[in-house]
């Protein structure tokens, strides 16, 4: 079953002369076990696409379905619960509360979502992979941009969500770290059977993706070439 399905999504902002058409007839699918990359330049509509997919904003037209359920008709409360339980969001900026240290960011999750979060062992593995095990007592303002992003990734994964939506998660990371994060996301998709969508302009992540979409000026196309070569290599 298709886990995420966007059909004919359009998004416009503003009215009259100042009206901007940001997304044009977008069709998109992602399944469990896949790591999908959406590549596009700045201003192409990547963040808009991702936040619509996660139910943070509503499309002007079109439908979003998660696990066969329509998001466009869901109540605010349902969307909230969905975000807490099923979706892990890594936003482009502002992912952490400034007045909680790193450890407390996770404690907050424990307080509102009592079950299904990572156990101690998987949490320790996660922070090791992301290299943030020494930062647990620090506040976001004491972290570098890259460290902030890694903590945000860890926080998104902490609830063990089925769907992970990440906006430029590697923008401030060096190549070694990008490789590690790429591998980790790939493994998560494969081994834990999650649907992972990463929107980025970071080409370094290309190698880890199962499928790639391109978005330019709000129009999305699937990169069949990569998909086919990938499938071919996998079959060999």
């Amino acid at each position: 079953m298709t886990t995420i399905k966007l059909t004919n999504i359009n998004k416009t902002f503003g009215k009259g002369l100042s009206k901007v058409h940001v997304l044009h007839d977008i069709n998109f699918e992602a399944n469990k076990g896949e790591l999908i990359l959406v590549l596009g330049p700045s201003g192409s509509g990547k963040s808009t696409f991702l936040t619509i997919t996660g139910g943070l904003q509503t499309p002007t037209s079109g439908t979003v379905e998660l696990n066969g359920k329509s998001l466009t008709s869901a109540s605010k409360k349902d969307l909230e619960k969905l975000r807490l339980d099923k979706i892990g969001f890594v936003l482009q900026s502002y992912n952490l509360l400034p007045y909680l240290n790193v450890r407390e960011q996770f404690q907050l999750v424990d307080r509102v979502k009592k079950q299904g979060n990572l156990d101690k062992k998987r949490f320790d593995d996660l922070i090791m992979t992301l290299g943030i095990e020494d930062l647990l007592h620090k506040y976001p303002s004491e972290l570098s941009g890259g460290q902030n992003q890694r903590v945000a990734i860890a926080r998104a994964l902490y609830t063990d969500p089925e769907i992970i939506l990440a906006d430029e998660p590697t923008a401030a990371l060096d190549s070694d770290r990008v490789a590690e994060v790429g591998k980790m996301l790939q493994e998560l998709a494969k081994e834990k059977n999650k649907a992972i969508v990463v929107v980025t302009h970071d080409l370094r992540l290309q190698n880890y993706a199962d499928r790639i979409y391109h978005i330019i000026d709000g129009k999305m196309t699937e990169d069949k070439a990569t998909t086919e070569t990938k499938e071919a290599t996998e079959q060999k």
Partner: protein
């Protein structure tokens, strides 16, 4: 609570300043209320200490003790019970060597009647002989001592302070309790005057004289010169102060909440339920206001201990608690005003693409 406390701890300066403001406001309200009440009490302390329910005055006295006289002839028409007592009032200026003169009220009372019997002293003894008086503590605070001889107005005979008592002020003037026969002497009209009034612990004193009239004690208190005017001035002053303070506090909490919108956006994006955000906001306001109130109360108590006894200050705990509860409630309201904004916060707008 978790978020509320973590945030306060992390933003010490900002929250410290807000608590400081609440401290000052609550301190101001507490002290002013207590001062106003203290002044009101110094008008009525003595009357309250009599436990009287009614008073008989001359009907042409405009309900003023100073203007009222009961002549011997009229007194014959009064049937005093054991709960009634004569008082003879006269304004006097008390002087003694080495101490400041004091404007006082001389009250002559009869040693066979309840006012005399119920009079409680803090030191010394009651006036048993002629030209002896029991004085209000104000005299003691001004340096008068037991055994001091005082001169009243320009009378020849000196009076001796034989005892001190507390809460004996009427219309802010300290009282000298003496014998009613001495009062007749002070008045200088011989024995034609029986008293100024009859106070009674009953609803009514039994008399049949067209020139006398019975009044409920509250009516008498309200007619004390300046009393009502003073009270309504203070009541309005404090009420306005309260209302304005409450608005100021509510506005501050509102601004505080608005400033936190980016944080709320993060939480909303993460799917933290709106309920948690609302609880946090309310918890935070309550924590701030209660900390402010506690410190304000401590300051008020310190002030009460430190302030000279000549400044009347009276603490009405129920009234002050009411003020405190009012502050807590409005602060909750103040923090609830922006809740719609919190609930409608669009994470995307704040977080940006």
């Amino acid at each position: 609570m978790f978020l509320a406390i973590k945030e306060i701890k992390h933003e010490k300066l900002r929250y410290g300043l807000i608590i400081g403001m609440i401290v000052l406001i609550s301190y101001l309200i507490f002290v002013l209320t207590s001062l106003a009440l203290g002044l009101a009490n110094s008008n009525t302390d003595a009357i309250k200490s009599w436990n009287a329910q009614s008073i008989v005055l001359n009907k042409d006295s405009n309900i003023s003790l100073g203007q009222s006289i009961i002549t011997e002839d009229q007194a014959k028409n009064i049937k005093l019970s054991s709960k009634d007592a004569y008082i003879g009032q006269s304004s006097v200026v008390a002087k003694s060597k080495g101490v400041d003169q004091i404007s006082a009220t001389y009250l002559g009372i009869d040693k066979d009647q309840y006012l005399y019997k119920d009079l409680k002293l803090t030191s010394g003894h009651k006036a048993t002989k002629a030209h002896e008086v029991v004085a209000d503590e104000k005299f003691e605070q001004s340096g008068y001592k037991l055994g001091d001889k005082i001169k009243l107005n320009s009378l020849k005979d000196k009076y001796t302070i034989v005892g001190f008592t507390k809460n004996a002020k009427i219309n802010v003037a300290p009282i000298l309790y003496g014998r009613i026969s001495d009062w007749q002497e002070i008045k200088g009209m011989g024995t034609t005057l029986a008293a100024s009034a009859v106070v009674s612990q009953n609803q009514k004193t039994d008399f049949s004289d067209a020139n006398l009239k019975n009044y409920p004690i509250q009516k008498f208190i309200d007619k004390l010169p300046g009393y009502s005017a003073q009270n309504s001035t203070f009541t309005f002053m404090i009420a306005f102060l309260m209302i304005i303070s409450l608005i100021v506090i509510a506005v501050f909490l509102y601004i505080l909440t608005i400033q936190k919108i980016p944080n709320y956006a993060v939480l909303r994006a993460q799917g933290i339920p709106a309920k948690v955000l609302i609880k946090t906001t309310i918890a935070q306001s309550v924590i701030l206001v209660i900390s402010g109130l506690v410190i304000g109360t401590i300051l008020t108590i310190l002030t009460a201990i430190g302030i000279p006894t000549s400044v009347p200050m009276s603490f009405n705990i129920p009234l002050l608690s009411l003020v405190a509860i009012g502050l807590v409630l409005t602060s909750i309201l103040g923090s609830l005003v922006p809740i719609r904004t919190i609930l409608k916060v669009d994470p995307v707008e704040v977080i940006g693409g």
